[in-house]
Amino acid sequence: MSTPFEKPQIIAHVQKSLNYTVFDSKWIPCSAKFVCLGNYARGTGVMQIYEVEHGEVKLVKEIEKAKPIKCGTFGASSLQQRHIATGDFDGNLNIWNLEVPDVSVYSVKAHKEIVNSIDGVGGLGIGDGAPEIVTGSRDGTVKVWDPRQKDSPVANMEPGEGEAKRDCWTVAFGHAFNDQDRCVCAGYDNGDIKLFDLRNMSLRWETNIKNGVCHVEFDRKDINMNKLVATSLEGKFHVFDMRTQHPTKGFDSVSEKAHKSTIWQVRHLPQNRDIFMTAGGAGNLHLWKYEYPAQRIKKDSDEVDMGVAGTVNLLQNVTLSTQPIASLDWSPDKQGLCVCSAFDQSVRVLIVTKLNRV
């Protein structure tokens, strides 16, 4: 373990109060700017672009939209374009060019109800293969979109006839290490986690963590899937080792009870997949490091391979606010820089130090 002096420190670099509820915040790749997405009290949506400059954030642009915006991603856009894909309260998926934000580049009525979560892959040089966007909604469906195809999704994961529709809270891409392979992981309010294989168009694995799944994320989208972190409503998170899938037991996992409240988000450091930060309902952030076990595969009693999960170590934790931190995003360009937004209507830029030494 590192000595206290060597421990990473989480520094609140800038704090900015906003006059709207902010749901999501995202760094614009290759820039010192980030976007905040949210909801004005008057019921309209808002996108604001801020730039970090001389220890403060400067509002660059503000764009008002008809519907409150819940979530956004740059994941499916090239570095040259850097278009943001957003999901709103009405179930629309829009892609915006932030330079010319008046008209959307792509727009589709994706879901009947609010789009809870969105993720993209195939852009920014992350993940081989086609650019694709996945959305998860309260209407119980998970849909995969290709910005080159109008109006209809390229894949649709929905409950069968007569099945109860569960609220899908979170979606994430992973396993996109070549042109064909790709997986979508979705988490539902009843604790279901489902892993869809987009190559075979099948449900590859499912499990239940007995508690609403607030957020899932693969440690890397563009590698042979390695780890998956799923956070839950009651303060626990699970780290699944995704390398070895046992035919009945599935993926081995380790869980940790970290927060006393909901873990709203988990984000892996773009520069080191084994470090991730969780954001909690009590306004706190926990920085974790995953340690691999000595052997990642073992034989069970029937001589079938099964994975072995490692351990997680807490590196640092801080309390920023009394309100839940609803979004968190690491800067893809500057190691240790991250932006988080909380329900106290403020957005914060944080610096995490000494990440290269842990």
Binding site: M1, L203, E206, N208, K210, T248, D305, L314
Partner: protein, 967 residues
């Protein structure tokens, strides 16, 4: 009891329950000290923190420390921390963080504008994106039916269950289910790492330069992560991807390390080589190459590499350790070699492999131990950069008090070691020693003795003379402490001297400068880089462009990872004195880091490099590099070239050995031949190539190689053995047996040789028996023996004939044209040895070998009738087949002669038939081209005569056509 009471009871009980678990008397120093139950301590801590039992800050602290000692990862220890602020960090750290952030902001802005400009011109359509996924596919949330039923039920049963559910529980059915589960054969586990289908090259056609760098970097990061997770194969793939986009030294280095961990020595060596080509003298690459060379058993060169590492970084622990091991190995090797020469090593390649294996149980554990240091958790941060840290220290270690004394007169000590300078230093240290001895007496009186010593030192260090004696003493004491590694004490002395100096109000900036500079060295040693920088800056204010403070400041900057400042300082140093090798190395290193950090435009972000006035430069440039130095450099360069060739040679050899192991002898021969181009005097290569030739049944070449080997090493058993095999292949059993006997004489324990000898003796006897006149016409046994090796013999034929031509010094070779000892005539009998000779010619050949044997025998005796008989016995269609590729000019003319003189009269049709088929034989056209004039004449005669013959099977025209093909 109504609900209200129940609830009130409950609410009361909850805190009471929590407290009840921890009796009040447990909240006590004594109890906590003895308690080892981590969980209970956690509870105690919680109670204490809650303040329910009162607030005891000290007890809480005590409890925390106790708990931390027992279980540092206990959850109870986790506290809510406020975010860190500037106050939590030292001023330096904070300024560094903000500096970096500001820099990043600027960079980000720049790169963004760049990106926007590029995107204006860049074609947005990207061809290499896969097409849109097939039309909207729907995946139901259920898994396939069988497993689904079970899964669903188990998932739905989230605790707590109610009683109704238990009522519905069907025990029998559940039992069946369990049994069924057991009997059901599960499909095997899916292991994702087993089917890596990652392309090792990336398509970068649509990317801009900026993106390429980003992508390459990202792939490298992925490689690093995989490396840290011990997925070395995956790491190699990702490094390869990164290298396919933008080749970098770091990429090659990292891939080399992964290959080392995978024990792919050859690839690792190649990567190290490439890294060193891109950046000669890269420490990591050298170190890794040394590791590989050591594994490959090339201790000599490994040691050389390690020495060059240690020359640059004398404190590199890994290198030192490795060198010790390698030296040990080298020493072991010497006797082993002698032993080896006693024990015959016949199949060198295989044996070397064996050697490797023998070494393996020791080596990998060592190597892995050594290398896993890089992967060990403590040093995981940056793979392989573990060496960076000791390296940094190593650099710091270099400024020693010796150089401090003559900070004005002398150069920075060259890495090569400059002799004259050293002399001064030695004197200096001698004076130091005197002083030390005095000081050890630890008395005031001794200090008097010490003082002259100190003054003596000031003679060497002119400006020191301006110091008043007490200060000079302080300074010298400081130097002494520094020399002895007591940096804190030295620091103290220097500080005293500095305060004394300022108090005295003297005006001697040079001295103060030296004092500051020396104190800076102490700080640097103590790792207090910021203080070091301060002192250096002060020193430089007093004396701009003095070398040492600049260098120290550069080092301090470097350790603080403020590379830009470090770069500027190093550059300034180089302006002052171009010969400072340390600065050169550091500049190279930092340049790389800066490029990594800032991208291509890193230069633009540098602070201005101050221009050094000419006076300062000249001051340093008094001594141009002496002739000796130049000579040394030239030698070094030569040495480097030689080493490069050596490495190249070794890698080729290794490659050749690999090929042999894989059975690709053709390739092996090619590589060995290249090896020999580089070093024509390597005996093992000859023997190895001979082995390949043997395997390829090219016996003559094999023999030649063995001869060359024996010329180099006249007692090489391997060469003898292989030549024996070659002789056997060439059917020279006598030579073969003599070679084998030679082998056995050198080492009687070679079972293979003995076996061969037995076999060959048998063959020899048989051939003798065959050659003897009393034998019946057809000798069956010889074909029996040869039957097993038929293909060998057939392939051997050309060599045999060639050998007959080339090896004149070996009269014993089986050549029908040379007068050979009688026992050696295995076929056809001796030339002109009685009338029975023709009988030994096998006139009923059943295969190419027999035919050729007979033909050669006949030719050797110039026995035209025998040849004619042979030809009449052979169906004309099979003639080309029998001749296979054995045709030569003499044979052709001999056959022509036979046809002409013997057969033409008897059976012109047969002659015609033979002629129509003969020209289809292999090599015919070539052979005909090389025919002599007389032979040509003979051929024309034959055709003339043939055309003169009247026949109903062929016309004159046919003969004419045929003749055209021959002449």
């Amino acid at each position: 009891m109504n609900a209200e009471i129940v609830s009130s009871l409950l609410t009361q009980e909850v805190p009471a329950g929590a407290a009840a678990a921890v009796p009040v008397d447990h909240l006590d120093y004594g109890y906590i000290e003895k308690c080892t139950d981590v969980k209970h301590l956690g509870k105690i801590l919680r109670v204490l923190r809650s303040g329910d039992e009162g607030i005891y800050p000290h007890l809480i602290e005590f409890c925390e420390s106790r708990l931390e000692r027992l279980d540092p990862r206990s959850r109870a220890l986790r506290k809510d921390n406020p975010p860190a602020t500037a106050a939590c960090l030292s001023g330096d750290e904070w300024s560094q963080i903000t500096d970096e952030l500001k820099k990043w902001e600027r960079d980000a802005k720049m790169s963004e504008t760049e990106l926007k400009q590029q995107s204006l011109f860049h074609d947005l359509e990207n061809d290499n994106v896969p097409p849109v996924r097939g039309s909207s596919c729907s995946i139901t949330l259920k898994q396939n039916a069988v497993s689904n039923g079970q899964k669903k039920t188990s998932q739905k049963k989230v605790l707590p269950r109610n009683y109704i559910e238990w009522d519905q529980y069907d025990v029998d059915r559940e039992c069946d289910k369990i049994d069924g589960n057991v009997t059901k054969k599960d499909p095997p586990a899916i292991i994702n790492s087993r089917y890596l289908k990652i392309r090792s090259k990336m398509n970068t056609t649509a990317l801009t330069e900026q993106e390429k760098v980003l992508v390459a970097n990202r792939e490298k990061v992925k490689g690093n992560e995989a490396f840290k997770a011990n997925d070395y194969e995956e790491a190699v793939v990702y490094y390869s991807r990164s290298l396919s986009v933008v080749p970098t030294v770091a990429g090659y280095n990292n891939r080399a390390q992964s290959e080392i961990n995978l024990q792919h020595w050859h690839n690792a060596l190649n990567d190290c080589q490439k890294a060193l080509e891109m950046e000669p003298g890269n420490m990591k690459a050298l170190l890794r190459r040394a590791t590989v060379l050591k594994q490959q058993g090339n201790y000599q060169m490994a040691a050389e590499d390690l020495r060059s590492v240690l020359q640059a970084e004398p404190q590199n622990i890994t290198a030192t350790k490795l060198l010790v091991e390698v030296d040990k190995k080298l020493n072991q090797c010497q006797p082993e070699k002698e032993r080896k020469s006693k024990k015959i090593v016949i199949q060198e390649v295989e044996n070397e492999q064996g050697e490797d294996q023998r070494a393996c149980p020791v080596e990998p554990s060592e190597a892995v131990g050594g290398e896993s240091a890089a992967a060990a958790p403590a040093e995981r941060g940056d793979m392989g950069n573990a060496q960076k840290k000791p390296h940094g220290r190593g650099g710091e270690g270099v400024p020693s008090p010796h150089t401090d004394h003559n900070s004005h007169g002398g150069h920075w000590r060259n890495r090569g070691g400059n002799a004259e300078k050293y002399k001064v230093n030695q004197q200096d240290s001698a004076s130091d020693k005197g002083l030390w001895n005095g000081a050890q007496g630890s008395g005031r009186s001794d200090s008097k003795e010490a003082r002259p010593a100190g003054e003596d030192g000031s003679n060497l260090d002119a400006p020191c003379g301006a110091l008043p004696p007490p200060l000079a003493r302080l300074k010298n004491e400081g130097n002494l402490f520094f020399k002895n590694g007591q940096f804190a004490d030295a620091l103290d002395k220097y500080s005293q001297a500095i305060t004394g100096f300022t108090d005295s109000g003297m005006d001697s900036p040079e001295d103060l400068c030296v004092l500051y500079s020396n104190r800076a060295a102490c700080y640097l040693k103590d790792g207090n880089s910021s203080e070091c920088i301060q002192d250096c800056t002060r020193s430089l204010e007093l004396q701009p462009f003095s070398l040492k403070p600049l260098l120290r400041r550069a080092m301090a900057y470097e350790t603080m990872e403020r590379y830009r400042q470090a770069y500027v300082d190093y550059k300034t140093v180089l302006q002052i004195d171009i010969s400072v090798q340390a600065a050169h190395d550091s500049v190279n290193r930092i340049t790389r880091l800066l490029i990594e950090q800032d991208g291509e435009q890193w230069r633009e972000k540098l602070p201005e490099i101050p221009l050094v006035p000419l006076s300062a430069q000249q001051h340093r440039r008094e001594e141009p590099p002496s002739a000796e130095v130049l000579q040394a450099r030239a030698e070094k360069a030569k040495h480097h070239a030689a080493r490069k060739a050596e490495v190249c040679f070794n890698s080729l050899k290794q490659e050749g050995n690999e090929f042999v192991k894989k059975g690709q002898f053709q390739e092996a021969v090619r590589t060995y031949s290249e090896c020999l181009k580089l070093k024509p005097e390597e005996c093992p290569i000859y023997t190895n190539r001979a082995l390949c030739f043997l395997k390829l049944d090219m016996f003559a070449e094999a023999k030649q190689d063995c001869d060359s080997a024996l010329r180099l090493e006249p007692a090489n058993k391997k060469a003898f053995y292989r030549r024996a095999l070659a002789h056997k292949g060439l059917k020279d059993y006598l030579a073969c047996s003599s070679d084998l006997q030679e082998v056995l004489q050198q080492d009687p324990n070679v079972a293979e040789a003995e076996k061969e000898l037995e076999e060959v003796t048998l063959l020899l006897r048989q051939s003798l028996a065959q050659g003897s006149p009393s034998n019946p016409r057809r000798t069956v046994p010889i074909t029996e023996v040869e039957g097993t090796e038929e293909e060998d013999w057939q392939a051997a034929e050309p060599d045999r004939t060639k050998a007959a031509e080339t090896e004149t010094e070996e009269p014993s070779t089986t050549s029908t044209s040379t007068p050979a000892p009688p026992e050696n005539q295995c076929r056809g009998g001796g030339g002109g040895r009685g009338e029975e000779e023709a009988i030994t010619i096998n006139l009923q050949p059943s295969n190419s070998y027999e035919f050729n044997q007979s033909l050669n025998a006949a030719r050797a005796q110039s026995n035209l009738p025998a040849c004619a008989e042979l030809l009449s016995c052979v169906p004309p269609e099979t003639l080309p087949v029998y001749l296979s590729n054995q045709l030569d000019g003499h044979t052709v003319s001999f056959i022509m002669q036979a046809l002409d003189t013997q057969l033409l009269q008897k059976d012109p049709n047969l002659v015609y038939q033979h002629l129509t088929h003969l020209h289809t034989a292999d090599r015919f056209s070539v052979v005909v081209m090389l025919l002599e004039k007389s032979e040509r004449g003979q051929m024309t005669r034959l055709f003339d005569r043939l055309s003169a013959v009247d026949s109903d099977t062929f016309s004159k025209n046919d003969v004419q056509n045929l003749a055209n093909k021959y002449i």
